[in-house]
Assembly symmetry: C2
Homo-oligomer: 512 residues x 2
């Protein structure tokens, strides 16, 4: 035991150094927002949406299926439970939600990369869930474990990304029953940024929590949130056992959970944005309340994922004005509940990292950032409505994430920013290029994007007339060439490998 403690101590020293190691992203671990929130709706509108959510909770009710334990918990808490339908007084639900922390830390294995989630803090995490990947050279294909590894390395390298997320792509060449183990190991070994765990089955959630306990050591694990699960409700108004079991495993172990109603308005919710926002509010509130019944004070992230649809085909659309509106409104509603919010991301329906992908992602992500989302899954790499992770898209989005962080930092207005002294040097009709004020600030005055080409057309043509996608291809390949793994305590690494070997030997290969 003393042996383990000292090895963790030396590991921590290694981590402190590694923040500056070659190849690692050196950047703030998360955003401390300094600009005000935008009040898109006035009080009256917010109250209307809340009243609708309360009505759904009390009158329509929420289905809790396949999980008698959850129903029993609700019964004991004082809800009206008929069959699998739970109708809970809105006051009870709100009271339960009030025990969830307004903000909390997720500890990373490198302490300098720990993130604070909630309040005025904003954390940008990578794409989550796509079965396919695409890059300029390899085209579109099923994701493989080799892709997964490269994507984790890139999320580690890219300074605009704070958090690795989890399923950066599905590693489809590994049996479903075992892939969570390999995915967890790659996040833990190839990156030192925080990440999420598995939720698809209770045992996989338990494996995630067990591996996090090994990685961080039991003392750190027991006193902190070091891992979270991310689950979706089954909208409309259905919470299945994947959700309740994940809540029990993560929150029951003192860890955190993100629950997001995923609503394609017109299918899983009403075809109106207001109706779908209210439904999402009700669904997220009941899940937060359940998490607090499992363990009062458990870290809970209030999730929201609302999409519009094409009126021509019924296909989901992204980056459209209705979800942009929903970001601002759900931001206001989450703050009234004093809960950390997950919403938005760099979302698009585009198949490649073309102009459509960029317009849609920018409109989606700028509003996500301005709306005050505290945890942004899907902030980089998403294509095809979430079916595909783009390697070029990942580095392109990450470049823009860095720009949004400058926006969120606000406008310095001190005397030096007002530059009165410069006007003593520069006459009207002169220029500021050589002024002392300019020379003093030249190096740091503006955000310097990695992938935007601002040169004249002649220089751009001389360098091969590359569009942004081609430059992004070069950048991610260069990042991988420069990659160096962050240090890890060999004893911890060994313990993780032992755990994985044991679990793999216990589990059958299964592809579903």
């Amino acid at each position: 035991m003393s042996n383990r403690r000292s090895s963790r101590a030396s590991r921590r020293e290694g981590q402190a150094r590694c923040a500056g190691a070659a190849g690692a992203a050196v950047a703030p671990a998360y955003v401390k927002r300094r600009i005000p929130f935008y009040a898109f709706l006035e009080e009256e509108g917010l109250v209307r949406l809340e009243a609708q959510a309360d009505w759904l909770l009390q009158e329509i009710g929420i289905e809790f299926r396949e999980d008698p334990e959850a129903l029993e918990t609700w019964r004991r808490a004082g809800a009206d439970v008929k069959g699998t339908r739970v109708r809970a007084p809105a006051e009870l639900v709100r009271q339960l939600c009030s025990t969830a922390p307004p903000e909390f830390d997720q500890i990373a294995r490198n302490p300098s990369r720990s993130v604070r989630i909630g309040g005025r803090n904003q954390v940008f995490a990578a794409v989550y869930g796509p079965p396919f990947v695409r890059d300029l050279e390899g085209g579109r294909r099923y994701g493989a474990i080799a892709d997964f590894e490269r994507l984790v390395k890139l999320t580690y390298m890219l300074p605009g990304i704070h958090h690795g997320g989890f399923v950066v792509c599905e590693p489809c060449d590994v049996p479903v029953s075992k892939r969570h183990l390999d995915m967890l190991y790659l996040h833990m070994r190839c990156s030192d940024k925080p990440h999420l765990g598995a939720i698809t089955e209770q045992s996989r959630a338990e494996d995630s929590v067990s591996m996090a306990r090994i990685l961080h050591g039991p003392e750190v694990f027991d006193r902190n949130c070091v891992i979270l699960g991310n689950v979706n409700t089954n909208s409309p108004l259905l919470v299945d056992k994947v959700v309740t079991e994940a809540i029990r495993v993560y929150c029951g172990n003192g860890q955190g959970i993100i629950v997001s109603p995923f609503i394609l308005a017109g299918a899983m919710g009403p075809v109106s944005t207001a109706g779908s926002i209210a439904q999402a509010l009700a669904e997220a509130m009941i899940c937060c309340a359940y998490s607090q019944l499992v363990r009062p004070g458990a870290p809970f992230i209030f999730g929201n994922f609302l999409s519009s649809m094409s009126l021509k085909s019924g296909a989901p659309t992204f980056g459209m004005p209705e979800p942009v509106i929903s970001h601002y409104v759900i931001g206001q509603l989450a703050r009234r509940l004093k809960l950390p919010l997950r919403c938005g991301g760099s979302l698009t329906a585009a198949k490649t990292a073309d102009a459509q992908a960029a317009y849609e992602s920018a409109d989606s992500m700028q509003s996500t950032a301005l709306a005050g989302a505290n945890f942004v899954l899907q902030s980089a790499g998403w294509l095809e409505g979430g079916l595909c992770t783009g390697f070029e898209k990942l580095v392109m989005d990450a470049d823009r994430l860095a720009a949004y962080q400058v926006l969120l930092a606000g406008l310095p207005l001190d005397d030096d920013a007002l530059a009165r002294d410069a006007y003593g040097e520069v006459e009207p009709a002169g220029h500021f290029l050589g002024s002392a004020h300019t020379l003093r600030h030249y190096q740091s005055a503006f955000h310097e994007p990695a992938l935007s080409d601002s040169e004249n057309v002649e220089s751009w043509e001389e360098r091969g007339s590359q569009d942004m996608q081609q430059r992004a291809f070069e950048r991610w390949n260069q990042l991988l060439r420069d990659y160096e793994a962050p240090p890890i305590d060999p004893a911890v690494d060994e313990a993780l490998k032992d755990f994985i070997a044991r679990r793999k030997s216990e589990l059958p290969d299964a592809w579903y």
Copy 2:
């Protein structure tokens, strides 16, 4: 005289019909904003910026060069004029600014396309100024009058664009001394949306005003703003005679003027965003004050154009977070002055309509729209930092402009939007696809973009795996095939042609 009046009367009838004519854009003439403004800075910060602008006006002063008449006007108004330096009490400048209308109408020759500028109204105008054009087939080349004509037709066809602007590209194959006449005629004949006039020389401004008087008839002209000029100050703190003459011609004739400080921070203003915003405020205020000295009550648009720069090369950058911040702040400052604001646009340094162009344009334009800009020049078509008009970029940006208009319209929260009745029909875990509420709203629930492809990858591949730029190429070509000129009174058309023929015979061919 009675003859002219009746011909104008019949023309008006023609215009009323033409709003629905084949090929014409059928859409609201401008945006009536229903969402709140975003208070990016608090009172204290705004006061600091205003104090700095006042200090610049009073202590540093503004140069008015090459124009003794303007200096004499300032002297008579009570300013301290030494040589060409004008120092004016901030109180005097603010008092003069207060006589400019907070909002005003610009009458279009088709009354259904007249726009209201200022207050909660927002007008999106096309790209202005590029000497080059680019399209997928023809590549990059100097703009020609044939390009200019096609671009005017497209601005007329595209429903996201409210206003034609003026120099949609430079028609470089027409002598500089005469091209303003051809450009004006094409705007007047090929479109019935409002547009701007020439400013590069006093006589060209006068020609613009004369042609507008012919187009609208003297009664409409004398009682309304039917045309505006758009000029830039010569930052830092220099107002040359191009500006003062344009103000005298346009405002002296009861028409409007836009004056925009164009500041590349670090060159024409301090390298800090705050410093450059304050300088821009001072420059725009003094020009507004001058316009009101020329004619109290003249329509004035408070312009702003602030760019950051690449720290590597000094090249201007666009779509970066610093100008995004400036949009929000200048919006607040303009509203405190109760002046209509021009700022922002779909700006980018990209050479083609690739992902860089889209990311930068979206970030620039979404913030422009949210910031409450009342008149947005450069809202569609801009490439290469304004050196090039892109045909594909024009239709792509216009598609996004339509989306921002949905955002600005806000969130309906009436009973129907909350869809309580749908929950009587749809059980938890059901779906809303066939519900009466969905069927009632299916056709109009969501913004339907023209150029975003939301289909699955298989359908997209079947249609040739086209990226957005390729789809945009097809769209603008199809729009031009569908184009029908809006009707015009033949007598007015004849009068315009006569005027142009006479002026061309008076003017030498000059290429500068």
